[in-house]
């Protein structure tokens, strides 16, 4: 049983007190978040009220659900009614969600206790959480380094043991890359598996919500809770889908392809070494691992331009709604146009402005065919190349991030250098595929050891297969090295030891 399932089982059986669990999580946040800044808002009173509701349900003999009493952290772009929803942007400072997202509704329906809103790159645009208008999150393994992004607050909160389970969103790598850099498990479901209702839109053809957790079993439980059809998001699949928790965890006979493009020279040597060791472990447990030469994903090297043009174009349209009229603060001008210009020009941060400009450019008359439509055509080539590989393989494997966590400020001067963080995750997003990042060892360098993530990628709608393979890999790997810095005195039930 996973540790999230352990907590829920303890609460359901009356052995664990959900109020005490919430207090433990809140105490850990109070003790450590001053250094880490995982959270943009912690509503302790709301968490206590919610935990008391769950306790009352148990005492009344009602089952609170599969996440009974589990403290959860939710990225500040996923609506939870009454809670902040700032997207780490000054343009939504003070904004509170008037309704809950489908995901938040599902979490509450299964007994979860939201404790806080996690930090992120502004509007999920970034790979380091340094684009938050409210200051960066720090990596628990080395607080001089970034946690990755954009779901960096959620990843760091799980890595530091502040919560056992968190939720993020991914458009180009924003769940898996911070999971890799913080040494936790992060899962990006197939596009359309989880409702986007109540997720503040960034790139609507790419955005997916998913869990960050201590291991794949916890991620599978969270996925089973949040996935499913929602009539309010027409892109979610109707009908039922297989349970990820119940899926058979078997590596023997699994056909695993390793595209040469996933492990070329642009990948850090330590990351390559840990990835090769992970592949050997898969082989030792009976997986049929095939290392492919370069050329099976011939257009993958164009994923960065394709991703940044498609996502930025969609963002330029989605973010048009933030004009100082309906939401958030306003920079008032004499005329309406001047109000729009001042509000958007001063309250969006530099990276968001840059992407709105890039997207507006790519969609503008004279450039639409050359940039936006070109990017969509190459996106199809990338998808077709992935689908061809899945006619031969059950899973693809490779590193999640080309490099381990980097120093704060190391990539902020050059936007393109930051974009390269998405090199190995963006192509998977462009193809809408399910993918998980699991810890596969530590990169040793001159400083503190830093986590490395292995990503497993599945065919469309094979989410349960990806999570089951990840859980089987984790069983073969054994308990990973955890970041202990912020775990001293960790309460056993709220994210510490099993």
């Amino acid at each position: 049983m996973s540790r999230v399932a352990d907590i829920a089982a303890g609460v359901r059986a009356g052995r664990l007190d959900p109020v005490a669990l919430a207090e433990e999580s809140l105490a850990r946040i109070a003790a450590h978040d001053g250094r880490l800044h995982c959270f943009l808002d912690v509503d302790a009173a709301a968490a206590r009220r919610r935990a008391e509701e769950v306790r009352a349900q148990v005492r009344a003999g009602r089952d609170p659900g599969r996440l009974a009493g589990v403290p959860v952290a939710i990225k500040d772009n996923i609506a939870l009614q009454g809670a902040t929803l700032t997207c780490a942007s000054r343009i939504l400072q003070g904004y509170r969600a008037p309704y809950s997202s489908h995901v938040a509704e599902r979490l509450l329906a299964e007994g979860a206790v939201p404790v806080g809103r996690t930090n992120m790159d502004e509007f999920a645009m970034g790979a380091s959480t340094e684009n938050s208008a409210f200051g960066p999150t720090r990596n628990p393994w080395d607080t001089a380094r970034v946690p990755g992004g954009s779901s960096g607050g959620s990843a760091a909160a799980v890595a530091a043991g502040l919560v056992p389970l968190a939720f993020g969103s991914e458009t180009g790598g924003s769940i898996r890359q911070p999971a890799a850099l913080c040494g936790v498990t992060g899962f990006k479901p197939t596009y359309g598996a989880v409702s986007r209702f109540g997720l503040v839109a960034f790139g609507s053809s790419l955005d997916v919500i998913g869990p960050l957790a201590a291991d794949a079993a916890d991620a599978a439980l969270a996925y089973d809770v949040i996935a499913g059809h929602d009539p309010r998001d027409a892109t979610t699949w109707p009908g039922s889908r297989p349970s990820a928790v119940a899926a058979e965890r078997r590596l023997a006979g699994l056909r695993v392809g390793v595209p040469g493009e996933f492990l070329d020279d642009s990948v850090d040597a330590e990351v390559r070494a840990r990835t090769h060791a992970a592949l050997e472990l898969l082989e030792s447990r009976g997986a049929r691992v095939t290392r492919l030469p370069l050329g099976r994903l011939p257009h993958m090297d164009l994923s960065i331009p394709v991703y940044y043009i498609v996502a930025s174009s969609e963002a330029s349209s989605n973010l048009a709604r933030f004009d100082g009229v309906r939401y958030g603060p306003r920079a008032q001008g004499v005329e309406l146009l001047e109000t729009y210009l001042r509000t958007r020009g001063t309250l969006f941060g530099p990276e968001v402005r840059r992407r709105i400009l890039l997207g507006t450019f790519a969609l503008s008359a004279g450039y639409l065919d050359a940039w936006y439509k070109k990017a969509l055509a190459v996106r199809r080539l990338i998808l077709d190349e992935f689908l061809a590989l899945f006619r031969e393989f059950d899973l693809l494997a490779g590193p999640t991030s080309p490099f381990p966590a980097f120093a704060l400020g190391a990539r902020t001067a050059d936007p393109y250098a930051m974009y390269l963080c998405d090199l190995l995750t963006a192509p998977v997003c462009l193809a809408g595929l399910p993918s998980v990042s699991v810890p596969c060892g530590l990169a040793r360098g001159p400083g503190a050891p830093l986590p490395v993530g292995l990503q497993l990628v599945g065919a469309p709608a094979q989410d349960q297969r990806v999570l089951a393979a990840a859980a089987a890999f984790e069983e073969a790997r054994g308990e990973p090295e955890r970041c202990e810095t912020f775990r001293a005195g960790a309460p056993a039930a709220a994210g510490g030891a099993r």
Binding site: R96, P329, Q332, L336, R344, R354, G432, P460
Partner: protein, 125 residues
Amino acid sequence: MPAPDEPAVDAALAANVAHLARLGLSDDERRAAAAQLAGILGHFRALQAVDTAGVAPLVHTLAVPGAPAADSVVPFADARVRLLGLASHAREGFLVVPRILDADFGPEEPAAHADPDPADEESPG
């Protein structure tokens, strides 16, 4: 370098794009934006060399076809109060914006309120 048939990304082009995006930028910000946009597009230019003749643009990757939403009215209790309460400028049950039809009336009085009372749909103004 830009293709021969494509104008350079200069401050004028950046100004036009910024206007389309309703982003107010200073002269310095426009110049910086033009340089950054030119730099990013320079990295992206390899895209132009790909032969995509006959390749249909991919607009979604839905693995399983979605189902259109039912065309029905969904109740949203106290919508006016709850939604107006989120705006920085609201009065008498409406959003307040600067005049666009008759500017002679001068600027709107700012009616900002940081923490509107959801019980009162009329914001102080």
